[in-house]
């Protein structure tokens, strides 16, 4: 088999792991050209998946938003920490200290001058806590599934709430509606999502 054919075979197999055996792979990767091409692909993946710096920029959003943001910061900072650290550190701290941890982060991230806030892998619940506080609305989850759903999204506090809701409704499996002063959240069923 030509090297290019071997490489094409490898590419196909990489998409169908169930069709692969270690022996088949060893045979393909014994070809230096294929092995080098594979390693180059591994580099490319590393490159494309390299964490990009997250630019979180806080505008003059007023005290109410700032309080909500401290809460979000605490969630962001401590969420994973609290998920893990109780297993390994018995004397973990309580929530007031969590807020103290969050404040310096907000201060540091507040140096920017842009207009959008990026939520990176943040639960819908936490996102809506901040957003609803900014617009003076309340949030009602009609079912619990969407609450913990993690999203990567951006929000421009200068834009209307309706625009942000339209943006969130582009995600599969969640549907938001605004009625009077309440944001209703519910999950879409799978058929609707598709």
């Amino acid at each position: 088999m030509e090297t290019n054919e071997k490489l094409m075979t490898l590419l196909r197999l990489m998409d169908e792991p169930e069709a692969m055996t270690d022996e088949q792979l060893e045979e393909l990767l014994a070809d230096d050209e294929v092995r080098n091409a594979y390693n180059l692909m591994a580099d490319c993946k590393k490159l494309y998946q390299k964490p990009q710096p997250v630019k979180v920029k806080w505008l003059q959003l007023g005290q109410r938003f700032r309080i909500a943001a401290v809460f979000l910061g605490a969630v962001l900072l401590c969420g994973l920490a609290w998920a893990v650290i109780p297993h390994i550190i018995s004397s973990h701290t309580d929530s007031p200290q969590s807020a103290q941890v969050a404040a310096p982060l907000l201060h540091r991230e507040g140096q920017g001058d842009g207009s959008s806030l990026r939520f990176d892998d943040v639960s819908l619940d936490s996102i809506l806590t901040v957003v609803s506080a900014h617009y003076g609305k309340v949030v009602t989850f009609r079912n619990e599934e969407p609450r913990a759903m993690k999203l990567i999204t951006t929000w421009n506090p200068d834009e209307s709430l309706e625009a942000f809701i339209d943006h969130l409704n582009m995600f599969d499996y969640i549907h938001l509606t605004l009625r009077n002063d309440t944001i209703f959240v519910e999950s879409k069923n799978e058929e609707e999502a598709q």
């Binding site: 094409m8 692909m41 893990v84 550190i89």
Partner: protein, 159 residues
């Protein structure tokens, strides 16, 4: 490093360490396990680390643990996740330089279609049939774009 120092270090550097682990493992759950297990072990051992070198020590420990996680996987698992087959001996700075050179060439030396295929495949981990549907080309054309682009990169860096 005593317990309170470790707790402080965990709070301060956990996001960076998770990012480091994710960059090697491409898996959030595995990355969290690596970081948690590292701190669990450090709590037991409480090693002495030179002041000011804590983050470097933690990052290197995370990288070593990620290498061990990858080494324990079967070849099929490694290839499916596109892990490097050979352990790199370079340091972080050298790797960053190498990847920066690669990135620069991808931007200037590949066609737009090839770059789009790279983004969809390596950045978004799409299946070939999904890439084909997105770009309105055949699956075979996707393979050909990939093979041609890899050949072009190899030719560039081999010369």
């Amino acid at each position: 490093m005593n317990q309170s120092t470790l707790e402080m270090l965990f709070r301060k550097h956990q996001p960076r360490l998770l990012a480091e682990a994710r960059a090697s493992l491409y898996d959030d759950a595995e990355a969290q396990d690596v970081v948690s297990e590292l701190f669990a072990e450090l709590l037991k051992r409480q090693p002495e680390v030179e002041a000011g070198r804590e983050l470097a020590y933690l990052c290197e420990s995370v990288r070593n643990r990620c290498r061990n996680v990858i080494a324990r996987k079967t070849l099929t698992e490694r290839v499916t996740r596109l892990y490097a087959l050979e352990q790199q001996t370079e340091n972080e700075e050298e790797e960053t330089e190498r990847l920066d050179r690669l990135q620069a060439f991808i931007r200037t030396g590949l066609t737009e279609a090839q770059q789009r295929v790279f983004q969809l495949r390596f950045g978004e981990e799409r299946k070939y049939r999904e890439i084909a549907a997105e770009l309105g080309i055949s699956e075979v054309a996707v393979y050909k774009h990939l093979v041609a682009a890899l050949a072009r990169i190899r030719n560039h860096f081999n010369t």
